[in-house]
């Protein structure tokens, strides 16, 4: 019986500082025991517990796609005890990861549909996993049109800048990157995510919107999609709650009768409507 509390040992293989403020970094981990990579087979939208012995654990969405072999990536903002310790780590150091945990983006449901991805700020990480998964040559034909709308407060806060450039060159992806306010060098779009969604106006036909961002973005983006005619079944999002065990036992991340760690973090708006509004 695999003990779900024991992390897989990993080495910090690569650290990428994502933003100008330097408080968001992407950590690439390699498994110390190569066979653990198989055991850690994950689906975009799942998360892991980053485990630093002596400090604790922090639940973080998986930012890489399962199509990226040989490693797993997490993009982490420096905030509390564990994430601060993580930001102090150097390449070559050892730590642990638990998981993969939670449900995932509903890949089977998304298959054959047009996909609209809406992300804001730092919440783009598991959306990036989904985008890279869908864009992979083995998977691309399983999905219809892909539209991405991604916004950050300013250009320096955009994550995955190299990847955004690459995606921008593709013809099989409609990429719309926006910032609330540009700077001297910014040549792209300016404007808040909800306004850009309105402008891009993705069709509701055979479409699913996957939306992830800060509460204020969600609040103003949802009405846009309702106006475009998207049903609550076809709007998918991901919740965050304080977590410890990640396996539905420690009792703190429930929303009504569902544990966000185990039954979520991904829910459709229709599902969320059935839960208590306590998150």
């Amino acid at each position: 019986m695999q003990n779900p509390y024991i992390p897989y040992p990993v080495v910090v293989d690569k650290i990428i500082t994502e933003v100008d403020t330097k408080d968001i970094k992407t950590f690439r981990f390699k498994f110390v025991n190569p066979e653990d990579e198989q055991k850690y087979a994950y689906i975009p939208g799942q998360f892991g517990e980053l485990s630093i012995y002596g400090k604790g654990e922090s639940p973080i969405g998986i930012a890489s796609s399962p199509t990226q072999k040989g490693y797993v990536e997490f993009t982490v903002q420096k905030a509390g005890v564990v994430t601060s310790a993580l930001h102090e780590m150097e390449e070559g150091e050892m730590m642990g990861i638990r998981g993969p945990l939670g449900n995932s983006w509903p890949l089977q449901f998304l298959e054959g549909k047009n996909i609209v991805i809406v992300g804001g700020g730092f919440a783009f990480t598991t959306l990036r996993s989904l985008i890279n998964y869908m864009l992979h040559e083995d998977n691309r034909k399983r999905f219809g049109n892909i539209t991405v709308i991604y916004g950050a407060r300013n250009p320096g806060l955009l994550l995955y800048k190299d990847e955004l450039t690459e995606w921008g060159k593709r013809t099989d992806l409609n990429l719309n990157v926006t910032v609330d306010k540009g700077d001297a060098t910014w040549k792209g779009r300016e404007g808040f995510v909800p306004a850009v969604c309105k402008e891009v106006a993705p069709s509701k036909e055979n479409a699913v919107a996957v939306i992830c961002g800060p509460p204020v973005m969600i609040r103003f983006t949802l009405p846009v999609f309702f106006e475009l005619g998207f049903s609550k079944e076809n709007i998918i999002t991901s919740l965050e709650m304080r977590m410890k065990c990640g396996i539905g036992k420690c009792g703190r991340c429930n929303v009504g009768s569902k544990y966000v760690c185990k039954d979520g973090p991904v829910f459709s708006l229709a599902e969320l409507d059935k839960l208590t509004p306590e998150y």
């Binding site: 019986m1 003990n3 779900p4 509390y5 024991i6 992390p7 040992p9 080495v11 630093i52 012995y53 002596g54 400090k55 604790g56 654990e57 905030a79 509390g80 994430t83 780590m89 070559g92 150091e93 050892m94 730590m95 642990g96 965050e240 709650m241 304080r242 410890k244 065990c245 396996i247 539905g248 036992k249 420690c250 009792g251 703190r252 991340c253 429930n254 929303v255 009504g256 009768s257 185990k262 208590t276 509004p277 306590e278 998150y279």
Partner: protein
């Protein structure tokens, strides 16, 4: 399953004999309280007790438990070992309400997908001997409202019932039968059975405190936003005693402790009554006041657990009622909900 009779005054001797062979948890007098503790060969069990001050859930789910050990290396702290999780044990003389709580905790810790090895291994290696309540011990007992009975083998491997001069010993499970040799060889007759049935019926009738526990589920389903929730928590001190004493409360925290080059990761009981329980790093707290925390505790026991596992997460032991320093009474809360 087999049934035997033992003389009442031989019970302590049986527990002591077992304590020579296993780790035996038994009710032990400690100052003014009775607690379940490992009694040791020279310990003196106290079976004439009403109920233990604390629920015996700590036998399977200790207050604090080491999950794993780790050690410092030049490349950082690395995992060093798991811990020994269970010894062959006997939990001797628990009340039926507390034995019932194990059945409820099993549903959470022993799920199909995520198995909690620490709990499960202790549970598997422990034989539960229940001691029936031939008289309900307290006026606050309400087991019959929450699927329990004062004379019940639910959750027990062996059930002992005081039928006068003797205890009727019923071996409920195979695990219980393995300890049969400790209980002499006097077979119980039909008269003993009849006497037990009579006593059980009397005991059940004597539980007079009743709550409409099953009736409130559909009411809770549609009353998350009812102003009623403003009325419970006013005097709550957020001390967490109710959750600490509760046989079915299972929430825990996971934390790390380092001493020198070595460290442990441990879990310890936590409480939904505490503000920090759900407070996020950002400062956001989905349950910002005692109102939401009381709603959570009530909902968890009488709605969420029913949704998740098909059972109410309360055994009617009344410990929270007796121990609350400001006399918040879950029986009244449930009663009030039933009138919404």
């Amino acid at each position: 399953m087999e049934k035997r009779l033992i003389k009442k005054d031989t019970l302590a001797g049986i527990a002591k004999k077992m304590a020579g062979d296993f780790l035996v948890w038994a009710p032990v007098k400690k100052e003014d309280n009775v607690l379940f503790e490992p009694m040791g060969k020279d310990g003196e069990p106290f079976f004439a007790y009403l109920n233990s001050k604390n629920a015996p859930k700590n036998v399977f789910f200790p207050h604090t438990e080491t999950l794993m050990k780790y050690t410092r290396t030049p490349k950082g702290m690395v995992f060093s070992s798991e811990v020994n999780r269970a010894d062959q044990s006997v939990l001797f003389g628990v009340r039926p309400c507390d034995a019932h709580s194990f059945v409820l905790l099993d549903k959470l810790f022993d799920q199909e997908k995520y198995k909690d090895a620490y709990y499960i291994e202790k549970r598997k290696s422990t034989t539960v001997i229940a001691l029936a309540c031939v008289k309900p011990p307290y006026a606050t007992c309400f087991c019959t409202s929450v699927d329990g009975e004062p004379v019940s083998a639910d959750g027990a491997d062996i059930l002992l019932t005081d039928i006068g001069g003797d205890y009727l010993v019923e071996f409920i499970t195979k695990k219980g039968e393995k300890l049969a040799s400790y209980f002499g060889d006097a077979k119980a007759d039909a008269a003993a059975d009849a006497r037990k049935a009579e006593i059980a019926a009397q005991a059940k009738a004597a539980v007079t405190s009743k709550i409409p526990a099953h009736e409130v589920k559909p009411i809770l389903d549609v009353n998350f936003d009812n102003p009623f929730w403003n009325t419970i928590h006013g005097k709550c001190l957020a001390c967490g005693t109710c959750t600490y004493m509760c046989p079915t409360c299972h929430c825990f925290d996971i934390s790390d402790e380092v001493k020198g080059a070595d460290g442990i990761r441990l879990r310890s009981w936590d409480s939904c009554m505490f503000p920090l329980f759900t407070k996020e790093t950002s400062g956001h707290n989905p349950r910002p006041s005692q109102k939401e925390r009381w709603r959570q505790r009530t909902m968890h026991k009488f709605k969420y657990y029913v949704d998740m596992f098909g059972a109410i997460s309360c055994v009617g032991c009344g410990r929270c009622v007796m121990s609350c320093p400001v006399n918040i009474d879950i029986r009244k809360v449930v009663e009030d909900i039933s009138k919404l």
